[in-house]
Subunit: 463 residues, 2 copies
Amino acid sequence: MSLLARPARLSTADSEFEAQFAARLHWSAETDGAIELRVADILTDVRERGDAAVLEYTARFDGLSASTMADLELTQADFKAAFDSLPNAQRDALQAATRRVRSYHEAQKKAGGESWSYRDEDGTLLGQKVTPLDRVGIYVPGGKAAYPSSLIMNAVPAHVAGVQEIIMVVPTPVRGSVATGGNGESTSARGERNDLVLAAAYVAGVTRAFTIGGAQAVAALAYGTATVPRVDKITGPGNAYVASAKKRVFGTVGIDMIAGPSEILVLADGSTPAEWVAMDLFSQAEHDELAQSILLCPSEAYIEAVQREIDRLLPSMPRAAIIVKSLNDRGALIHTRSMEEACAISNRIAPEHLEVSSSDPHRWEPLLRHAGAIFLGAYTSESLGDYCAGPNHVLPTSGTARFSSPLGVYDFQKRSSLIEVSSAGAQTLGSIAAEMAYGEGLQAHARAAEMRLDVVPPMRSAK
Amino acid sequence: MSLLARPARLSTADSEFEAQFAARLHWSAETDGAIELRVADILTDVRERGDAAVLEYTARFDGLSASTMADLELTQADFKAAFDSLPNAQRDALQAATRRVRSYHEAQKKAGGESWSYRDEDGTLLGQKVTPLDRVGIYVPGGKAAYPSSLIMNAVPAHVAGVQEIIMVVPTPVRGSVATGGNGESTSARGERNDLVLAAAYVAGVTRAFTIGGAQAVAALAYGTATVPRVDKITGPGNAYVASAKKRVFGTVGIDMIAGPSEILVLADGSTPAEWVAMDLFSQAEHDELAQSILLCPSEAYIEAVQREIDRLLPSMPRAAIIVKSLNDRGALIHTRSMEEACAISNRIAPEHLEVSSSDPHRWEPLLRHAGAIFLGAYTSESLGDYCAGPNHVLPTSGTARFSSPLGVYDFQKRSSLIEVSSAGAQTLGSIAAEMAYGEGLQAHARAAEMRLDVVPPMRSAK
C-alpha cells in the first residue's frame, strides 16, 4: 500500500461537485442475510435454553470453555485488581475522565431530566414523572481494540440517571476462535482480559460482568438466563452479529442507535495551525478504513497547507496504513465558496463530529442544524471530546444526527405522564372528550367521560 | 358469541396465581415472515422507482387508481372544507383538544427541551444545543376507525418542537381492496376520506398530505420520491405492513415505538363508583379484541360490585361484542392482599395506562415506577387523557414503559453536544486525553491533544 494520503479534492464551484460529493458520502450498511439468520437462531436458542446455550456458543465462537456461567462472571475484586495493576498516570486519567463525564451528565440531568408538573385553572394537575430504568446492559467489544473510554461513556450516564444495576458483557475470545463477539482483531492465547477495560469498570461502577459476547450475550441480557439478569435496555457498540441481535431484541428491551463508521467534518476558516487540523483528520481516519474525514474550507491555500501537513505527519503515525486507506477511499478536502456554504454542506451531511475550526466559531454555530457534537474553536480537538471534556462520545453516525442525539442521561430514564383531573376539570374536559369519542365511534370512551359530569346526559348512538 | 363479560378472577393469595397471571399477560408480537419479505420488496421497489411504484401499489392494494402522485395529494383547501363541513360541537371539540394538547406540550418543552450550557473553571464551554427535526412524516391509518385524536397527538408535539414541515399520509382504500395500509376494516365505495381526520389536519396544522398507505407510504416518506419529500422521522400507528416497514427503514429515518395492543390497569381502593371503573375497563376493551383491561383491588366486595356493573352496562354498549371478547380472553379482576401489593404487581406489568382510582392517589403514586401514563383519582378517566387533558395518548405498550416514554416534544427534537475548550482547558484536558488515547493504541488521538499543549511532548510509542 502506498503511504501517500490523498483525500479527494473537490470544489463546490466545480460542475461535477454534486456527483462527486454524493459518491464520496455514499455508504450503506448492507444487511447480511446469512448473519441475520444465524443471529435469529442464536437468540431463539438462548431464549429457550438459557445458560446452557450461552456456554455452548461461548465455547464454539470464542474458544472459551467453562462448565458453568459462574466461571464466566468477573467480580468486583477482578475490577479492583486490574485498576491496581495500572501505572499511576493511567489510573489518574481514568478517574479524571470519569469525574468530568459525570459532572457534565449531572448538568444534563438538571437541564431536562427532572420530573415536572403544573395545575391548570381548573385545578387539574398535569406533568411528567421522570424515573431511571431499573437495570441496563452494556456491551463492550473484546479483543485488542477494547476501549475503556467507551465503557465510561455508557456507564456514567446510566449511573447519573439513577440506574441501580449495570450489567457488562465483554467477550474474551481466544486467538484463532471464530469470535462472533469480537471486533475482527484476534487476541492473545487464553482469552485475555483487557486491564484498562476492567479498571474502567471499577472506576465507572459496573454492578456485574460476564465474559460473553456476540448475539448470545445480547440474548442473555434481553431475555435473562438463570445466571444473567434480564435488563431493560442494552447499549454499547459491537460487530455485525451484535448489531443484528440488538435490532432483533428491540421492543423486548430498549437499544441505543446502531453505529455506522465514525466521521469527522472540519469547517476551517484557515486560522487554526494546519498541522492541528491534519492530525484531527488522522484521529478519525485511524479508527478504521471506513472512517470518514472531511475538510470544508473557503481557502485553497489553507487546503494545500493541510495536505502538506498530512504528508509531513503521516510517516510518524503507527496506524498510517489505516489512515491512508481511510483518507484515500473516503476522505475529502472540499473547497467552498464561503464559510456559509460550508455550513450548508455540513447540514446536508449531518456529521457525527463537527469541528468549527475558526477564530470566530460562535458566528457559525447558529447556522449548524445537524451534528452529533460540535467542537468550537482551534483548541477543541475532537480527541478531547472523545475522552474527557465531559460530553458523551457515543454519537449519531451516517447522517442520523438529522433525527437522533448523543447518548445521554435521557437514554437511561423514561417518563410517565401524570394527570389528576379535578372535579371541575372533569366537567370542562368531559364534554370535549365525549364529543370526540362519539365522533370516533368509541362510545365507552364517551360514557366514561360523561359519567363524571355533574349531570349525566343520555347516551348517544354511534355516528 | 355470549354477551357475558367475565374477566378472569385471580387472587394473589392463590398458590396458582403466578402461573395464571403469566398466562393472562402473555402476548407476543409474532413476526410474519411472509409480510416481512413482501415489505422488503415494496421498500426496494419504491426506493428505486419512486412515484411510479407508489402509484402501482396504491392501485393494487387500495384499489385507488391515479395517473400521477399529484392526484393523490390533499390540499389545504381539502382540509378547510372538511373542517367547515363539521357540526359546531365537533369543530369546537377539535379546537379545544388541540389547544390543551398544545399547552401541555409547550410546558413539556420548557421543562427539558431547551438548549443549555455552562463554563467550567477553565473557561471551557460545555452544553447541548436542542433543535427541531426539519421534516417529519405522520402515518394515519385509513378506513372507518380513523382517529383524528391520533393525528392531533402526533402533529402537535412536532409543531411545538418547531418542525417546519409535517407530511401526512393517510390511505383511502376502496372497499374490497387488499388494503395493506388500512386497519382491517373496509371503507365505502370510492376510497372515502374521513372528514374528521382532514379537519384535524386543518386544526393541528399539517403541511402536505397524500392519500397513500402501507409499506409504500412508509417507503415514500423514508426515501423520498419526485413528489413525496423525504422526511427525517416517521411516527403514527399502522397495521402489520406499516409496522414492518417502519422497523426496516429505522436508521434511514427515525421512528416511534411499534405499538402493541392497548392496555389499561386500574388500581382501585374501592372509593370510586364501581360503574365508573367498569366503564373505564370497557373503554380499553372496546378498542379491539386483543386490548387488555385489568383491575387490581384489595377488596373482594368491590371487585364483585365492578363485575355487577359490567353486567349491567354491557348491553348498552354498541361495541359489546368486542368488549366481551377482550375481557373474556385477556381481562382480569385481581384480588390483592393490599394496595402496596397492587402497586408492586403494576410495576411488573408496566402498563400503558394506569388509573390510580383511589381517594388518596398521591399515597400510591410514588410507589409506581413503570407506566406510560398515570391517571390519578376518581375523576381522571383514561378517556379524558385520550382526547383532551393535554398529555400525549401515544404511549408505550406491552411492558415497554420499563424503558420508553410517551410520545413528546423530545421525539421531534435532537441534541448536539457543544464543546469549546479554552486554551487553559486544552492544557488540563490534553494530558488526560493523551494518556487514555495511548492506552487505547490511538496515537493520532493522543497527538491531536498533545499538539494543543503549550509544551508539546515527544510522541510515545503504542503500548
